[in-house]
């Protein structure tokens, strides 16, 4: 058993930022809120899918696929919420929808959940946070990361490695040995699912999966990489949650798409608070966490000025 740890929420309550009663009220779960949001989200990507269908055979198909892809990659925001069991009160709904999102994006849900647990324990700590994205050393490295090429290399490699029954040394840091077989089984089931879908496409000659799923996800993923960078990149590699995470104030459509995960510092403070209560938690933690008022653009401006040397790098002095 590990030593008792001072979680961010324990710290916030000790410092009087939030009362126990307020926290408990914010943690209230609801199937209704989650399902309504899911329905609207589903309508969004049906609409963008319809735009692709309308534009097939014309040059407009590319922007339509990009737009559809931007919506599709936000399945990640929902999967992330589901891995915290917060969007739906019924626990198994979070499991099922988490797997659905994971299947859409090549992110096996069980494996992601374990990886994400360590991200919350060791946020921004080099060598310990498995989701840490390092501050790029040059502008070209920044563009390379945003291109999503290294991301897909890692995702395909991960799925292949697990499907052939291998767990890397890094993964053994956050996966308990009794779960190795479940992670391997999960990767094999996802691979089998993809194989069946592509075989059916081949047999029927209908390649809608490419136009409505695969290509849009590849086109949209750079947007998700940029959003993921805004959460921690350019913040110091220290344990202090007030400093190591960035919330970004973004527009209502973006907040809707990302299931309020722009309130990222608030989420790290109390990961049991569901997406629909994060704006209220943000009000409570006002001035206590780091907020980028210029939104995702401001976050990237901050990152780029650190890369180009206009501003001191946040990772200087960290080994």
């Amino acid at each position: 058993m590990g030593d008792e740890i001072l979680t961010p929420i324990t710290q916030a309550m000790k410092e009087g930022v939030l009362t126990r009663k307020e926290l408990k009220a914010l943690m209230t779960r609801s199937n209704k809120q989650g399902l309504l949001h899911l329905l609207l989200f589903f309508c969004c990507y049906c609409f963008t899918g319809f735009l692709i269908w309308l534009s097939l055979g014309s040059p407009w198909v590319l922007p339509a696929m990009f737009l559809h892809g931007v919506i599709l990659v936000h399945h990640f925001s929902l999967q992330h919420e589901c891995c915290h069991y917060t969007p739906f009160k019924t626990r198994w709904l979070n499991e099922i929808i988490g797997h659905y999102c994971g299947f859409v994006l090549l992110i096996p849900n069980k494996f992601f959940r374990y990886e994400h647990c360590n991200h919350h324990t060791y946020t921004q700590i080099l060598g310990k946070d498995p989701e840490l994205i390092e501050l790029p050393i040059s502008f070209w490295k920044y563009l390379w990361y945003v291109s999503s090429i290294p991301y897909w290399q890692s995702k395909f490699g991960e799925l292949f490695r697990h499907a052939i029954g291998r767990i890397s040394e890094e993964e053994k840091e956050f996966l308990p040995p009794e779960e190795y077989s479940a992670v391997i089984r999960e990767a094999r089931l996802y691979t089998l699912g993809y194989f069946i879908i592509f075989m059916l496409s081949w047999l029927t000659g209908w390649w809608g999966v490419i136009w409505f799923w695969v290509l849009p996800v590849f086109l949209g993923e750079p947007v998700m990489r940029a959003i993921r960078m805004a959460e921690h990149v350019g913040r110091p590699n220290i344990t202090d949650m007030k400093e190591n995470t960035r919330s970004s104030m973004v527009s209502l459509p973006m907040r809707f798409l990302c299931w309020n995960m722009n309130y990222h510092a608030e989420h790290h403070y109390a990961s049991s608070v569901p997406f629909h209560a994060l704006p209220k938690l943000h009000e409570k933690l006002e001035g206590y966490v780091h907020v980028e008022r210029r939104g995702y653009w401001g976050a990237h401006l901050d990152i780029i000025t650190q890369i180009t040397g206009t501003k001191p790098r946040s990772d200087v002095g960290v080994s």
């Binding site: 058993m1 590990g2 030593d3 008792e4 740890i5 979680t7 929420i9 324990t10 309550m13 126990r20 926290l23 408990k24 943690m27 779960r29 891995c83 915290h84 069991y85 917060t86 626990r91 069980k110 959940r113 374990y114 647990c117 919350h120 324990t121 308990p176 009794e178 779960e179 109390a270 990961s271 049991s272």
Partner: protein
Amino acid sequence: MREKFWRDLLPIAELEQNDVTPAKYGTLDLAVYDTTDGIFVSLAKCSHQGANLCHGYFDGKYIECPLHQGLFDARTGEPKASPATRKLIMLESRIHKGVIQIFR
């Protein structure tokens, strides 16, 4: 071995209804659960990585860790969902003359 006695922990009036209440006995941090099947007490520390379970989501039967959302049955301490794999340390409890007591 030290003899065990029933020891006062918390007046029932101070219990957070249908929720988990933090309590202290000596240096021990405890979690008192007002479950649908009665009062149960465990060490407040999550058996996974030590977060305080009193700050977690409780639905009347199961307590969820506030840090990683691992799940435990608050009546038995049994782990019910990953990343929780080890049982919580439970303490025998009863209500006596309006006070929740633990056998220790």
